[in-house]
Amino acid sequence: MRTQARVLAEKVAGIRDSDLFGVRSGALPTWCPGCGYYGIHQGLNSCIQQLGLPHHEVVTVSGIGCAGRYPFFTNTYGVHTAHGRAVPLATGVKMGNPALTVYAVGGDGDGLAIGGGHLPHAARRDVNINYLLFDNSIYGLTKGQPSPSSPMGMKTKASPGGTADRPLNATLMALTYGATFVARLFAGDPNAIAEALVEGTRHNGFSFFHIYTPCVTFDKSFKTWDNLKKWVHPLPEDHDPGDLRTAFDQVLKDDFSLGILFKNE
């Protein structure tokens, strides 16, 4: 009889035997059960498989935070840097050996607060690296403080009266800074992540991936799985990623349309 446990066991075996598992390291991710990062992990692993990149020619660079641990969970080369510094270090890796494929990963605190000064320059320098910003609007590793993308009024232990500052829109920032490839994605859709990553990795320039993801442990009110599933939807079918003005219009009127917003070859 196919019990639920047996179905699950078969699923696990299926994943283990698939090519996908090859990109993963032996170490099991330390993220909380139900974390959105598993979806991003699956998306990036799948992208590396689809592109057929030899794992030893890929470098994954991270900062600090829950996303900082990412490199330990892949079978690529990796650097787990200091808080906020994944992007400039990844720049050095790529310039040091342009044959490598480089992914920088990090959260919204890492990339928009302490490391926020690097995004404009990575965009205008247009070095061929791929930057995945895991945006859950909260500091998870330090147990739930507001981040630069938290909505105004969000209550946390560090903001009992609600946050007073306006949130940053990472997609809008990347477009403004002149990033030549900008996609907005959702951790609940690993296939779409993989698809966008494949295209972005092939793009010769700085590629920015703004990925909405829940923090299942510390955010019970804003970017929860339920809310995100309700809010996100694909870009209009006729969206032209070659047109910057269209991309701006789209981002200004709609926070939750997903897909490749802009691409300048």
């Binding site: 400039p88 050095g92 890796v93 310039m95 040091g96």
Partner: protein, 591 residues
């Protein structure tokens, strides 16, 4: 001892061409076969009313320091030059405009302020320049000409260096400048030569190897080029910027690139990234930028990623004195940053060492897989010396990374706790040796681990590795007679040049003193330093900082308190000051 030892100052207001005149003087004297050490002092502000002074010490043997008194002052602006009067040697010769274009109040004119005995060399600088070229803009060259003519110096080298400087600006500009020089030269020879003392000696300079004028910054840049540098990441900051500018011009010739980053944090991050990917790179900065780098230097120490960081020290703390020299970042370099983070710190003492130590830093960083900090200072970076072009042998340039062997595959320990502390380091692109470099404490395999035993094991490994580097680091040098000494002077960085001259003079006076030059500041050669200290009754440590940072670092090795000589003045310590201190100590010891 130097038979010729002349210090010449050119002083004017920003915009007078003071720095240009001083530069031409240095080059011309070098072309004439003299040894030259030149140093400019200029305001941090680009325009305005700042005083510009160039100082050149000219001798017939190698010069390693500046004296603080001048034998010749060439004044382009009396209102600025009056501040230099206290720094004139007795019987100095002073060149000034005897008919200045703007009226100078009598009480402000140099002539009314100079001490009796000063040799007054007035020439109508502006008038001569205007007559020769139609404008007074070439006044600086006329004044230089007056100086050269008065002392009977060969005009040919002057013409040569003026031509070299101005020929790119067209025949008209070159011609005007040459005529300004000649007008001054003729006036000086005809009107002033009988009154100046004969301080440049007979013209029998021996032929040596061809010499070039090189600043510390330029020597550093050349070393980086010769080491095969491909990437420089940096952020503009005085006094390190000339390194970036030099490399920006030269690196593309060898397929490299200067990348101006958004700040110093990004600069060191990119250097670490580049080294991680297997490509040597460097950054140069000064105190404020270095402070920003300390967190990522810690990452380099922990994750064992090489990096080369040049810290051109200036006066601090904070923005401090951007255009003044100081040796106050020693502790920041050796100890800066959180945690137990042993790193390698070396400090050249002259322009030639700027070249060789920069070259060495690339090799050491790679061999010991750790950040190497090269500490220079404003005086060392910006002074010019004329010396035979430094060159590195092939061995000096060789790279020295310990790669994993094929047999390690499947059981690769990136951070194996070896006896030397050096572990096999794989480079991305190498199949089967993937690992994650991390700033977290980690196991020999590179997996995060906070257990007590592991932290002890890995801390010991990192410290062991840095101590092992002593084998490849320059040992202290001792300049002294054998046996017991009354005074031993220990010094680092550019101050050592002054110590060397002071101790040479002390030897000529028959004093039992010695000098020790320390260039490896961390790790340092404890045994050799202690052995020298044991020979000395007193240890004197002159430094250009307020508290005595080297004294704090190594003073404990002496049986009793070391004597500190600290100057937070922003200017180099003159050899004569150190000599005076030595004499006092020798006399007190004899009581």
């Amino acid at each position: 001892m130097l038979r010729v030892d002349v210090t010449v100052e050119v002083c004017g207001t920003a915009g007078d061409g003071t720095i240009a005149a001083g530069g031409l003087l240095n080059q011309a004297m070098s072309e004439s076969g003299f040894s030259v050490l030149g140093f400019d002092s200029y305001p941090a502000e680009i325009r305005g009313f700042g005083r510009c002074v160039t100082r050149s010490r000219i001798g017939d043997r190698d010069i390693s320091a500046l004296e603080d008194t001048a034998n010749v002052l060439i004044s382009l602006d009396d209102s600025q030059s009056r501040a230099r009067i206290p720094f004139l040697a007795p019987n100095a010769a002073v060149f000034f405009d005897s008919n200045p274009p703007t009226y100078i109040q009598e009480e402000d004119s140099l002539t009314s302020l100079l001490e009796p005995g000063t040799v007054l060399c007035g020439l109508p600088i502006a008038d001569l320049a205007t007559e020769a070229s139609g404008s007074a803009r070439g006044r600086n060259l006329t004044a230089l000409g007056g100086f050269a003519g008065a002392f009977g110096l060969d005009p040919a080298p002057f013409r040569k260096v003026i031509t070299r400087k101005f020929e790119a600006k067209g025949a008209q500009v070159l011609d005007a400048n040459l005529r300004c020089f000649e007008a001054g030269y003729d006036f000086g020879r005809e009107q002033l030569s009988d009154r100046v003392p004969e301080i440049f000696g007979p013209r029998n300079i021996t032929e040596g190897p061809e010499r070039v004028m090189l600043s510390g910054n330029l020597a550093i840049g050349r070393a980086a080029i010769d080491a095969g540098l491909k990437l420089y990441f940096g952020y503009p900051i005085t006094p390190a910027t000339p390194i970036m500018e030099y490399l920006a011009a030269k690196l593309p010739e060898q397929g490299g690139q200067v990348v101006q980053m958004e700040d110093e944090i990004a600069s060191i991050a990119a250097v670490l990234g580049s080294y991680y990917a297997g490509s040597i790179s460097m950054t140069a900065t000064s105190g404020p930028g270095f402070a920003l780098m300390t967190e990522l230097i810690g990452l380099g120490v922990m994750a064992e990623i090489p990096a080369v960081i040049l810290n051109a020290q200036r006066g601090g703390p904070s923005t401090g004195l951007p255009t003044k020299t100081e040796q106050s970042d020693l502790h920041a370099a050796v100890f800066g940053g959180p945690g137990d983070s042993p790193r390698i710190v070396i400090a050249p003492t002259n322009v030639e060492e700027c070249y060789h130590f920069t070259m060495k830093s690339f090799r050491i960083a790679e061999k010991y897989q750790t950040p190497v900090i090269v500490l220079t200072d404003f005086f060392l970076d910006n002074r010019v010396e004329n010396l035979p072009m430094p060159k590195a042998g092939e061995e000096e340039k060789a790279h020295d990374n310990l790669y994993p062997s094929e047999s390690d595959k499947g059981n690769y320990k990136r951070y194996a706790a070896t006896d030397s502390g050096i572990s096999p380091r794989s480079i991305p692109g190498t199949e089967g040796f993937q690992y994650t470099a991390t700033g977290l404490e980690h196991t020999e395999e590179g997996i995060p681990d906070y257990s007590a035993d592991n932290h002890m094991l890995m801390s010991a490994k990192r410290h062991r590795k840095i101590q092992a580097a002593l084998a490849d680091l320059p040992a202290p040098e001792v300049i002294s007679p054998d046996g017991a000494l009354d005074v031993g002077v220990i010094s680092w960085g550019s101050t050592f040049g002054s110590v060397l001259e002071a101790v040479h003079t002390a030897h000529e006076h028959g004093m039992k003193v010695g000098a020790m030059k320390i260039t490896s500041l961390f790790p340092y050669h404890e045994d050799l330093i202690r052995a020298f200290m044991n020979r000395c009754d007193e240890i004197l440590i002159p430094e250009l900082n307020f508290g005595g940072q080297l004294a704090d670092l190594i003073g404990r090795l002496h049986g009793k308190d070391v004597i500190r000589m600290n100057r937070a003045t922003g200017v180099p310590i003159a050899p004569s000051l150190i000599l005076k201190e030595i004499e006092t100590l020798v006399m007190e010891g004899g009581k």
